[in-house]
Symmetry: C2
Subunit: 155 residues, 2 copies
């Protein structure tokens, strides 16, 4: 989805809810879409401040739910204490995450029959499936052989 189309989608969502289009929300939106990897609220705050230094942490936390609600962002919780976010790419509706146990880098992959699986299994239990998530923990081959991961992060 192009940046322009995404921005229209965001503004349309705000308008439909009677919410205002502020500079802070636009800066956070732009920073979020500019990321090439999964990011945390704190990382987004840094990036958004580079565009508009008046952006506060509170507004980032208040804007993230808006962007996930209109499907511009996907929230990913890998159980590490902090949540990650990533721009919803083109039409990929069924994705799973692969998390490197060493550097914690998150990759997304298509997971074709995940939805079918959730439906089958939930219906068997008398439930109406809403969503499903699949996460795979793995080691980079590089890490497995050399003991070091090429994408090491600080934390």
């Amino acid at each position: 989805m192009s940046h322009v189309v995404a921005r229209e989608k965001f503004q349309a969502y705000l308008a439909s809810r009677g919410l205002r289009v502020t500079n802070q929300r636009l800066a956070i939106f732009a920073a979020a879409l500019a990321q090439t990897e999964h990011f945390t609220a704190e990382q987004l705050l840094d990036q958004a401040r580079a565009l508009d230094d008046s952006v506060s942490r509170a507004t980032v936390y208040r804007t993230l739910p808006l962007m996930t609600a209109c499907l511009l962002l996907r929230e990913v919780d890998i159980g590490s204490g902090e949540k990650f976010y990533f721009a919803t790419s083109s039409g990929a509706t069924e994705v799973a995450q692969v998390v490197c146990v060493d550097c914690h880098k998150i990759s997304e992959i298509n997971a074709p029959f995940m939805e079918w699986y959730g439906s089958t299994v939930a219906l068997k239990l008398g439930l109406k499936p809403i969503a499903q998530r699949l996460q795979v923990s793995a080691q980079c081959i590089a890490f497995h052989t050399s003991g070091r991961c090429p994408h090491h992060r600080k934390k």
Copy 2:
């Protein structure tokens, strides 16, 4: 796995690590295995205190990793802020969780090909798969039709 077998497994694990078998650890162990649903650290603290009122919150948090390390408990993170635990039932190695979006009740189901899926997908990316988790969010049928869920929890 019977209670007795499980306790032997726990004690063997402690012994193998040079850790001591204390009344508090045994109370926490017994309380954990007595649960019929997924539980939080706080709920376990209450139950363990019913068996031994000297058990502290810190010891619960220090004992949970021991019980998960020796595979007596499974840790389940549904992204709600707090972690849940559940006794590892008989031989079920491949399980997925179904979480009711209304009451947040967690059910476990067999997920036969989950491991195969993780392996396939991770290898395709040049990764060595370690573990995978699949979670399905769903509505109880009762909730879907009547708007109320039979297992409503307070929080």
